[in-house]
Subunit: 401 residues, 2 copies
Amino acid sequence: MIDFPNIRSLCQATASKIALLGVDGLGGVPHPRTGRSELETASLPNLDSLAQRSAAGVTTPVAPGITPGSGPGHTALFGYDPVKYLVGRGVLEALGLGVELGGDVVAVRGNFCDVDPAGALIDRRAGRIPTSESAPLAAMLNEIEVPGADISVHPGKDYRFVLTIQGPGLGARVSDTDPRPPDESPSPALALDHDSVATADAANAFVSAARYRLAGRDRANMVLLRGFSKAPDWPQMPRAYRLAPAAIAAYPMYRGLAQLLGMSVLPTGDTFDHELDTLERSFDDHDFFFLHYKPADAAGEDGDFDAKVAALEQLDQRIPRLLDLDIDTLVVAGDHSTPAVLASHSWHPVPLLISAPHTAGDGVEALTERACRAGSIGSVPASSVMMLALANAGKLTRFGP
Amino acid sequence: MIDFPNIRSLCQATASKIALLGVDGLGGVPHPRTGRSELETASLPNLDSLAQRSAAGVTTPVAPGITPGSGPGHTALFGYDPVKYLVGRGVLEALGLGVELGGDVVAVRGNFCDVDPAGALIDRRAGRIPTSESAPLAAMLNEIEVPGADISVHPGKDYRFVLTIQGPGLGARVSDTDPRPPDESPSPALALDHDSVATADAANAFVSAARYRLAGRDRANMVLLRGFSKAPDWPQMPRAYRLAPAAIAAYPMYRGLAQLLGMSVLPTGDTFDHELDTLERSFDDHDFFFLHYKPADAAGEDGDFDAKVAALEQLDQRIPRLLDLDIDTLVVAGDHSTPAVLASHSWHPVPLLISAPHTAGDGVEALTERACRAGSIGSVPASSVMMLALANAGKLTRFGP
């Protein structure tokens, strides 16, 4: 935990290297027909062999029963209490689009929506208009200027966009514009503290101008704003852990999150193979690497059990490339479970493996939810993974005399 | 936990007796050649038989990945949050030497060290000079007097000593004198609050006098001071738990720690057999006994797997003497793991057994890391052991209406 008292005084820089392979949506639940989870169904010879010589356990992402979004799922893996260190929705959306966020930028998530001639909200998502339709609208709204702040509109997926509001001292304590019952029309953005008055003014000026420019359209003729937030000023991994950490992630959101924590974000390509190329190229330059593997989560979210099994098997085939690097401490973890039978993230504990010079197997035969639970790590909060990785790598000294 | 709200109101004095056998460094990790830990290798018929009729589990000393020193490892076992109740290094070193610490004594850990003619530090530990060489030096430094405080120098092992500084109202918020880069020479002790100004003055006067008296020597010609601390004013076990607790420990440090928690410290001899003699003799006088078994930790610290196995087997042979006493609730726990393959304390969970009138075995066949994890207690913080002991002994009443 980054908040363990005086954690920096316990950490020591060493030559050993840690790689944390974050398998998005790693955990699952049994398929009702077979009684076997995705991990139990997949053929994973390399991961199972790794499990047999690792310390094994399961992680609880946030708390029992709590299903994390991608933000808390990942911050926990890096040792940040996911309840305390919660990234705002606007910031997360902006990071997901690769928008750079300086300290004086307020990020806001926007929806195109439909209103009737009286202004009452009809559809919060404008019938989920496709990106091809929303992107030109976002480009048009990007031309809007408002007094007192610099604003930009960044196109997102389908009905989504991100609004950034930039100016010295702008606060982000601003209410969402979703209608507050009994109102049926979008509400004005309200400043919730003094510093945020100018932010709310800029947001409301933007909404007025957007409504004017979108008028006459049947669909996507209005916008909603929510999740006003600024990039947080959190403890930084390099200082707290005495590490030179690097993040290798094909998806922008995970790169953005890593940046918030002080990791070096290494340029890479679109696939996990590209990530491995990057790891091999930069292996000498850092002592901690976060690699992100997305396809298992994507298949789980789609509710496609077989696709998730296939995504796990494709990962397994790449494990030898990782092992060839002779990483001192290799951690295989997940930010949360994404059971295909739920077609969404879930609260279920996630398998964890730590392979290090002094791990010799716990009698756990496979990387599965059931097998890993019996390992020597037992069941731990996800925010403990970083401590265990540092300990196994010999980077954590004794606490107390 | 001693901090459970109004814990005293939940506790009740009863005739039942608890013995907590603290096996220092109890846990281990598998030997890479055999795949079996020290506990899994040792022949422990008595402890295994005890395991078969006990409630079993594993304890996490401080937090996953955190390796405790002896102080936090033990305070946790007695129900004290080891992060909140952290004993200072000077106090612990003094306790280890059997130095009595009143409330107005500041204890400081001292090293003899080597400096060059310009005063730059060459060796923090004076080449680890033997006790035979350092003890006369400590005796010489004990003659030093400084204005405004009573000071004493207590010889320690090898290059170590303890400095005590006594005087009304002396604070202990004083910085260590290890050189602060870019300085190469020992730093002055700096007061970090108003009450500690006189303490720092006394420490600096002592260092000046010590340097003068040690001048001309090639080795051990200077001293370093660190860990300024006072015996803490912590909640006391007798009051909090309504117990008459006694500590039986051959090593002074554990006796000193027990004293800080309000236990009666019973005079005993140098070995675990002496401790058992003491237990038998005083069995009627107390309702809680802490017995400390050191050899397993010492062998683990030495990296001697076979010696640790032998130390565990020697303990096993003494278990019948414990059982003959008909102790109502017998707890076998450890302050931390000391895996021989790491040759140091570690963060790994530690096996736990509680044998009480209403425990009848959990299907756990042996006192090992792997077997105990599957027991009914599961994995708990070490600071829960005391609650479980009290509960099993019928000394803990219902919480809430």
